[in-house]
C-alpha cells in the first residue's frame, strides 16, 4: 500500500549539501503536484555544524510540520545522534556507513546507504554524495526521477558540463542504490491529483515581500536581523526595478525613521525586523501613531527575550505589538496564518495603514518565514489595493490636517501640494498640527485617534478577516493566531474523523478585535482551548481582558512550531 503523507529528514554537516537534497526533493514533489511543507534547523556554527532540513510530502493538503520522521537520511554520526530518536514507529533510518554507526539496541529499522562510497566510485570524488542521497530518496518515495533530474540540470548547468555530468551519474547510481532492500519498501507516495492552478514555491518571508510589492510599497528600509533579513534582501534585488528604493539603514531606529519620512512624503513604505529591532522602533511607533502617518512594520518573531534564540520560532511578541510604546498609541496588529496568507495580509497591512493612518504591525514568525510551501499564484487583477485618502489639492486652503471626523480619519496632504502645509509632530496638537496641551484638546485628540480603531472594529464585525467557524454548533473550540492555523486545522480534522466537531477561531486582525463576531463565536462554547507558541499565554490573557472566557491554555515554547499531532493530543484531553 502506498503512503499519503510522509516526513523525510535529511541531516548532516552544513555545507555537505543536505539542504540542497531536501530543497530539490521538495521542489520535485511539488512539481509533481504533491503538497509539501518544509522545516529547517540551524547549526550554532556560522559555517558547518549540524544542519537539518525536513520535508513533509503529502497526497492531500498538509498544514503543519508533523512530528516524527518516517525517513531519516543521516550523513554523519552527529545527525544520527541528534535525530535518531525522533523516528516514527514505522520509520527507517538511511545512514552513510562511512561516517555513521548505528548504536546497539537501536529500536528502528536502519539501512546503510553508502553515499560516500558511491560518489567516490562513480565520480571520483565525494562532492556528489548528496546527489546520491537525493536519488536514493527519489526512488524510495517513488517520485518521478525526470522531475528531479530537470532540477539538478538547471542547478548545475552554470557550473559547467563536467560537474553536471558527474552529478547526473551520481544520480543514476543513487536511484538503484537501495533496490531490493526490503526495509525501504512501503514508502512509495500515492500520486496526487493533477492540479489546475499554477503554483509558486515560496517562503513566508518571500510571500510578505511579494505582498508588499503587490500592495504598492515603494520604499523599504531595514537593518539585517535573523529571521527578517531575507525580506530586506529580496527587496534590494526586486524593488528598484519596480521604481522603488531600498535602504540598508545604520540601525532599526534609522530604518523606521526613514520609512516614516518616505510615508510623510507620500510613499507606501515598510520595514521588517525581529524582536530586538522592534524594541528599538518602539519610540517611533508612538510618533507615527501620534502624527497619524501610515506605516507598515513586519515583525518576524523569533525566540526571545533579549538576543534569545535567533534561529528559533516563537509567538511571544504579541503583547509588545499590542502595547509596545510608552503612552497610548492606537495601532493595528495583523497575524497571517499561512504562507499564502502572508501575501494577502501584507497587502491588507498596506491598505489599512493608508486608510487608518497609523502603524500596522504584521506578526509572522521564524518557522513560517523560513519554510517553503507551494502557493497558488495570486491574481493581481483581483487584488484590492487602497490608496491614501488625499485631500484635494486646491480645495485645501485653510486645510486642517487633523480635522476631526466621524470615523476619526482625516484626509492627508503630501509635500508638494499647494496649500496643504501642516506640522507632523509627536507633540499633542490641534487640528492643524500645532502643539496644544489644553485638557479639552487633549481629550478630543485622544478620542479622535482611538475612534479610528472603533471604525475598523465595526468593519471587522461585518467582514471579519479570519476564521470564525462554529463547526455546526460544536461545544468545544480551539482559538489560535498566526501560524498555528495549520496544526490546529489538522487537529480538528482528526477530531472530526473520530466523530467530534470542534469550532475554530483564528482571527487575523488582533488589534482591534472583531468584538461582536468573537462574542458570537465564544457564546455557545463550553470549553475553548487557546493554542500559542509562547510561555505566558499572551493571546489567552488578551482574550480574558476582552471577553468573559476562561480558556484552557495550550502553550509550547521550545523554539519549535506546533505539529498537528501535538495540538490533537492537547485537544483529546478535553474531549
Amino acid at each position: 500500500m502506498a503512503c499519503r503523507d510522509i516526513i523525510v529528514r535529511v541531516a548532516g554537516e552544513g555545507g555537505e549539501g543536505v539542504i540542497s537534497v531536501a530543497g530539490i526533493l521538495t521542489r520535485s514533489a511539488a512539481n509533481a503536484a504533491w503538497k509539501v511543507f518544509t522545516f529547517r534547523s540551524y547549526p550554532a556554527e556560522i559555517k558547518g555544524g549540524l544542519a537539518m532540513m525536513q520535508v513533509r510530502i503529502s497526497t492531500d493538503a498538509v498544514q503543519s510540520i508533523g512530528m516524527e520522521a518516517d525517513i531519516l537520511m543521516a550523513f554523519n554520526q552527529e545527525a544520527m545522534d541528534t535525530w535518531g530518536d525522533r523516528i516514527a514507529p514505522n520509520g527507517v533510518v538511511l545512514y552513510d556507513p562511512k561516517h555513521c554507526e548505528i548504536p546497539e539496541g537501536f529500536s528502528h529499522k536502519a539501512v546503510p546507504a553508502p553515499l560516500h562510497e558511491t560518489s567516490m566510485t562513480v565520480t571520483g570524488g565525494r562532492l556528489s554524495k548528496n546527489i546520491v542521497a537525493l536519488a536514493a530518496l527519489t526512488s524510495v518515495l517513488a517520485i518521478p526521477p525526470d522531475k528531479v533530474k530537470e532540477l539538478i540540470r538547471s542547478r548545475f548547468k552554470r557550473k559547467g558540463e563536467d560537474i553536471l555530468e558527474k552529478n547526473m551519474k551520481a544520480f543514476e547510481a543513487g536511484l538503484v542504490l537501495l533496490d531490493g532492500v526490503p526495509e525501504v519498501a512501503g514508502y512509495e507516495l500515492e500520486q496526487p491529483k493533477a492540479e489546475a492552478e499554477r503554483k509558486i514555491i515560496i517562503s513566508g518571508n518571500q510571500a510578505v515581500a511579494m505582498g508588499a510589492l503587490a500592495a504598492g510599497c515603494r520604499y523599504v528600509a531595514g537593518y539585517p536581523i535573523t529571521p527578517a533579513t531575507p525580506i530586506l534582501e529580496f527587496m534590494m534585488k526586486y524593488l528598484p526595478a519596480l521604481g522603488g528604493d531600498v535602504v540598508q539603514a545604520e540601525d532599526e531606529i534609522a530604518a523606521i525613521a526613514s520609512v516614516l519620512g518616505a510615508s510623510f512624503a507620500g510613499k507606501k513604505a515598510m520595514t521588517a525586523t525581529s524582536g530586538p529591532g522592534l524594541c528599538l522602533m518602539s519610540e517611533l511607533i508612538g510618533m507615527a501613531s501620534m502624527s497619524e502617518l501610515p506605516l507598515v512594520i513586519v515583525d518576524v518573531q523569533r525566540s526571545g527575550p533579549g538576543t534569545g534564540m535567533p534561529t528559533k520560532t516563537e509567538q511571544a511578541d504579541l503583547m509588545y505589538a499590542l502595547h509596545g510604546t510608552a503612552g497610548e498609541a492606537p495601532r493595528i496588529v495583523l497575524a497571517p496564518t499561512s504562507i499564502e496568507d502572508c501575501f494577502y495580509q501584507t497587502v491588507e497591512a498596506f491598505n489599512l495603514a493608508e486608510r487608518y493612518q497609523m502603524p500596522v504591525i504584521l506578526l509572522t514568525d521564524q518557522a513560517m518565514a523560513y519554510r517553503t510551501q507551494s502557493v497558488v499564484i495570486p491574481d493581481m487583477t483581483h487584488l484590492d489595493i487602497l490608496e491614501r485618502d488625499v485631500a484635494e489639492s486646491g480645495a485645501v486652503a485653510g486645510y486642517d490636517r487633523y480635522f476631526d471626523t466621524k470615523s476619526g480619519i482625516s484626509p492627508m496632504t503630501i509635500p508638494g501640494m499647494v496649500d496643504g502645509m501642516y506640522i507632523a509632530t509627536g507633540l499633542e496638537h490641534d487640528e492643524h498640527g500645532a502643539p496644544n496641551y489644553t485638557p479639552e484638546n487633549r481629550v478630543r485628540s485622544m478620542a479622535k485617534r482611538y475612534r479610528k480603531l472603533e471604525t475598523l472594529s465595526k468593519e471587522l464585525d461585518a467582514n471579519g478577516n479570519g476564521v470564525y467557524d462554529p463547526a455546526a454548533a460544536a461545544k468545544i473550540g480551539i482559538i489560535g493566531w498566526g501560524s498555528t492555523e495549520g496544526p490546529i486545522k489538522e487537529a480538528i480534522a482528526r477530531a472530526k474523523e473520530d466523530g467530534t466537531r470542534v469550532a475554530h477561531m483564528q482571527p487575523k486582525v488582533l488589534m482591534p478585535l472583531a468584538k461582536e463576531k468573537m462574542m458570537a463565536f465564544l457564546k455557545p462554547l463550553k470549553k475553548v482551548l487557546v493554542v500559542e507558541e509562547n510561555y505566558t499565554a499572551q493571546f489567552s490573557s488578551y482574550l480574558k481582558s476582552n471577553f468573559k472566557v476562561e480558556p484552557i491554555e495550550v502553550n509550547k515554547c521550545t523554539g519549535l512550531p506546533f505539529s498537528g499531532d501535538e495540538v490533537f493530543d492537547a485537544l483529546k484531553k478535553h474531549l
Partner: protein
C-alpha cells in the same frame, strides 16, 4: 515656483509664534533662513523641514512649510526617507547639539556616506536648552550646568573635525548673529549637490553663560580668503587650528548623491530583474 508674486522673507513665517526666550540665538537663524528662502524663491509647498526635539527643534513650526517634528535625534534618517521618496523637494534638517551630536550622533557618518541632497543646520548652543540647562557634547570644559555641578569634566566634541572625517561633501561653520553671512552660506549650501552640514553656533543667553554672544564676537573670524575649500588636507588643518572660531566653508566637493545612487540601482535592477509583480511570480514557479 507656482506662486504668482515673489515671496518676501516674512512670507515664509508660519502663524505660530516662536516660543524661544527673548534674545535666543535661534532667532538669527530663523531670519537668515527666511531670507535665503526668499532669495532662492523656494516655493513653500516644496519645502520640507525635518526637526528634532529641543528649542532648536521647534524651528520647523515657525516656517511656512511641510514640517516634520520627529523624535529626539531622528531628524536625519527621517529626512533621508523624505528626500528619497521625492527628490524634487527642498529638504532641510534643523536640530540642536544634543539632538545631533548626542542622541542622534550615530546617524551622521551614514548621512555622509549616502550624501542625499539635504541641508542640515546644527544649531549649536553648547547646552540642552529645552530641558533647561544640562550639559551637551559641545559644552566647554569646566562649564557648570545643572548636570555638571562641579564643572564639565570631558572635553567638547569638535563638530567640524568630525564632519570632515565622515566624508561630508560640504562642511561649514556659521554664527547666528551674522545673519547676512549665514543667509549667503545657506544659499550656497542649498546650491551644493549633496549633503551640506553647517555647525551653526547660536548662543543660548538663558543657560549658557560661557559661550555668549560677547565671547563669540571676540573669537569669531571668517575663514581666511586664501583657504581652498576643495582641499581636504587644508580643511583638516584649518579645523585643527583652534585659536579662533572660523566661520565659512571648510570643505566642498562633488560626489554621487543618494538620489543618483538610487537611480543607478533602479537601472541595474531593471536590467536584470522583472519589471512587474506578475513577472516576479514567474521566477518562483514550480
Amino acid at each position: 515656483m507656482t506662486q504668482q508674486t515673489m515671496l518676501k522673507p516674512k512670507d515664509y513665517k508660519s502663524e505660530i509664534t516662536p516660543i524661544w526666550c527673548p534674545g535666543c540665538g535661534d532667532f538669527g537663524d530663523l531670519a537668515a533662513f527666511t531670507q535665503a528662502m526668499a532669495a532662492m524663491e523656494v516655493d513653500p509647498k516644496d519645502l520640507v523641514i525635518v526637526s528634532g526635539i529641543g528649542c532648536s527643534g521647534r524651528f520647523s513650526h515657525f516656517i511656512k512649510c511641510y514640517a516634520y517634528h520627529t523624535a529626539h535625534g531622528r531628524a536625519i534618517p527621517t529626512a533621508t526617507g523624505v528626500k528619497t521618496a521625492n527628490p524634487d523637494l527642498h529638504v532641510f534638517v534643523v536640530g540642536g547639539d544634543g539632538d545631533g551630536l548626542s542622541i542622534g550622533g550615530g546617524h551622521l557618518p551614514h548621512a555622509a556616506r549616502r550624501n542625499p541632497d539635504i541641508t542640515y543646520l546644527l544649531l549649536d548652543n553648547g547646552i540642552y536648552g529645552l530641558t533647561k540647562g544640562q550639559s551637551s557634547p559641545t559644552s566647554p570644559l569646566g562649564m557648570v550646568t545643572r548636570t555638571t555641578p562641579f564643572g564639565m569634566q570631558d572635553p567638547p566634541l569638535d563638530p567640524v573635525l568630525m564632519f570632515l572625517s565622515y566624508g561630508f561633501t560640504f562642511v561649514a561653520r556659521a554664527f547666528s548673529s551674522n545673519v547676512k553671512q549665514l543667509a549667503q552660506l545657506l544659499t550656497e549650501a542649498v546650491a551644493h549637490k549633496g549633503f551640506s552640514i553647517i555647525q551653526l553656533i547660536s548662543p543660548c543667553p538663558t543657560f549658557n553663560q560661557v559661550v555668549t554672544f560677547d565671547w563669540m564676537k571676540a573669537h569669531v573670524d571668517p575663514i581666511p580668503d586664501d583657504h581652498d575649500p576643495s582641499d581636504l588636507d587644508a580643511a583638516f588643518r584649518l579645523a585643527l587650528d583652534k585659536e579662533r572660531v572660523n566661520t565659512g566653508i571648510f570643505y566642498r566637493t562633488e560626489a554621487p548623491t543618494m538620489e543618483e545612487k538610487m537611480a543607478f540601482q533602479r537601472e541595474e535592477s531593471a536590467k536584470r530583474e522583472p519589471g512587474t509583480v506578475d513577472e516576479i511570480f514567474q521566477e518562483f514557479l514550480l
